[in-house]
Amino acid sequence: MRPARMNKIRAVILDEKMDSVIRNLHESGLVELYDMSAKLESPEWRAFLAPATSAEYTRQIATLMIKIGRIIDLFKSVKEEEKTSIKELLNPQPPKKKKMSFSSAEEAISYAEKVLSDVDREVSEPSAKLTKLENRKNELNLLKEQVKYLQDFDVDLKCLGVGEFVYIVSGLISKDKLSELEKSLDDVTDGYCEIVKGNVVVSENEEKVPVIIAVLKEYMDNVGAELRKLGFERFEISNVEGTPKELLSKINQELNNITSEIENITSQLRKLAEKWEEELLAVYEVLEIEKERGDAYSLCGRTERTYVLEAWVPQKYAEKAKEIIENAADGYAFVEIAEPDEPEEKIPVLLDNPKPIKPFEILTEMFAPPKYNEVDPTLLIVPGFLMFYGIMLTDAVYGFLLTLVGLFLWKKMGKVSEGAYNLGYILTLAGIATVIAGLVTGGYLGDFLYQFLGFDVYKSGLALVNPLGESAYISEANPLFKMGNITVNNGPMAILIFSIVVGILHLFIGLLVGFLENIKRGNKKDAILNQGLWLFLILAIVVGVAIGNLTIIGAAVVLVILVCMAKGFMNGGIMDALLGAMDITGFLGNVLSYARLLALCLATGGLAMAVNIMAKLLWDSVPAVGIILAILMLLLGHTFNFVMNGLGSFIHSLRLHYVEFFGQFYEGGGKKFTPFKAKREFTTP
């Protein structure tokens, strides 16, 4: 019910043993290293401790990681689109783990260097070739683009450029500027100019004309300036020969060759990827781990011959962590286990629930992890969350489907994803709760049995309550109970009363936890004013209803309002007193909010009924294909209803906890415990 108790470990370690200590702590993943750098700025610490720096080798590792990362990226880029088979999709397997253990960072680095050079020897040639081919391909594509515009010209492209006497240039000019071009070139070249035009083409949403311009060499500069002015797009064609058509076919030929060559090299690389990728991923991971270790030094302080290390450790692992340090240092270490020496909000929070409850921690963490000295509400969430979920979805068939979805996520996807594991576990239990609720309320795809088979589960007594009307057990003739002018003689009323009672109980638990918490911290006044008051009101309501005397409830309400007003008055005068009087509506609001259990329960059943009715109408009124339409309607309609209400139930169940329940006792906002731990996906130590 509380986050794990923490201890602080302080250790002084001989410098030559430090590496081994860090390696062993990292492998064990028991502690969270404490960053001492802020502390070491103060003069009294400064006097005998200096901040340590990351290990020397981390820079070397970073360089290696970049190199290896580049090859991994190359391998990824040549990989064929992986077709995941349905079987794999339904049953994903985590990647195979390679055994890799090194006794020092240097060893890991030299291994990585060896692998890198082995891989590089095989990969560097094809990869350089690939780059070259791809560059050539781009070049050719560019050239092809330009030469295409000149297709209709029957010239030898060898002539383009600066010759002995003439300068020939080709390019695109916008159609509107063509006459201007002709005129101005005529002017600057004194008529020694020849312009050959091609057919109009559309390029970048503009009509353009490809042209070849030949002028005397001496006018070259003037012509160039003129062309720039008119927005002439010059083609960069040089060192080629033959007519454009000939050249195009040559280019295409070469492109084809290059494409097939690229394919060759890609498949060669693909083979290399198959051979090396696993190894590289594993090495990369090892390097990552070594880097994290190297960086860990910078969190510590040091003297000439020793390191000083501080770390948070959950109390139950404190002794074990101490042992690990001492063993790793061969006794050249002094280790002390101390109580937390920091203010509450700086102590990391580790939720510590038994295994069956653990997956629900994601619900708590989604709101906010508790503060170190606060209650961990995870255990309190579980029964309410499942029950509310069940009541809001209430359909045995939907519940069964949800259980299947949950099991799939939990057992299959859960192998590769922790999130899926947790969610799957929660959904499986929620599905079971829904099945139970569905059995109680007789919901099997809504009223499917009645619509299509004429079987009435409510009259036959197979279901306890009918959310939309009467059942064999609760009906006009057979009311559940009577009080004042409220008669509980049908399903909705019974579920409404049930919802309100559950709500009051739920709030009562929340208030009680808050009350005890406040008492524990010595805030008696807060306990009584913030929680005690409402606990008293709830008790008065229970007693009042039990003995059938409503004046008790009335009196309690008046008393509570008066206390609230007094509380407000003490805080800040008349206005606050008036606002205080409104506190009671807040409480009422909390209680009534639980009425959503009924409303959403009805919404699922009602919409399922609507789907069934429409399907029945199709079945009965459309000849021949009516049956197919009806089946389609049922499939689509129920899937839709299942998804919408399944989602809605989840969030509304959460909301009841976050807003109404947590509001009574929980604040949250702790800092999560993040262990110093080697993350291993592809390797085992």
Binding site: M366, F367, A368, L468, G469, N485, I486, N490, P492, M493, L496, T585, G586, L588, G589, L592, S593, A595, R596, L598, A599, L600, L602, A603, G606, L607, M609, A610, I613, M644, L647, G648, I651, H652, L654, R655, Y658, V659, F662, G663, Y666, E667, G668, G669
Partner: protein, 222 residues
Amino acid sequence: MVFENPLILGAIGAGLAVGIAGLGSGIGAGITGASGAGVVAEDPNKFGTAIVFQALPQTQGLYGFLVAILILFVFTSAPAWAMLAAGIGTGLAGLSAIGQGIASAAGLGAVAEDDSIFGKAMVFSVLPETQAIYGLLVAILLLVGVFSGPGVQEIAALGAGLAVGFAGLSGIGQGITAAGAIGATARDPDAMGKGLVLAVMPETFAIFGLLIAILIMLGIMF
């Protein structure tokens, strides 16, 4: 009197339930959809997320549809005014979808930036649905004749529908607050608790409406 035939009031009620709630859902889903289109343009992988958020403001329309079907079902047994009241209550309260659309749009925007905030954004986005749920609740209570205070058979029932319906418009305000709270939570995850408290405030008025509706149905007049 025009309303002698109970079917007329029932039909109007069914129409209003689907019509007004559909209007609200349409606007709400439109607001979220606009945000969704922007998000998907940035990152096509977010399509699924966009759909989930856009589904939220559509539930109001579903509730309207559900109540309309129910009205058609109880034509012969339910009091005529209760049918009209159920329709108006669900319909008006369904306009809370506008607020939900605003909140969902903000939630989607936040999730587009940071996936890990999905659950929180979802909780905030679903807050303005409470109003619609209260509308649905009152409608069903009216239709199944649970509360049989003296006025419920007659025009007083309309009061219950109007109370829960108009008070349900507080959902628009709640949506705006929730949108702001999502932004705050996206910047600072610890702000969720306080953001929830602020975002739940506008719900008070929906609760007033629900309370008055229940009192009317019970026939309690002080």
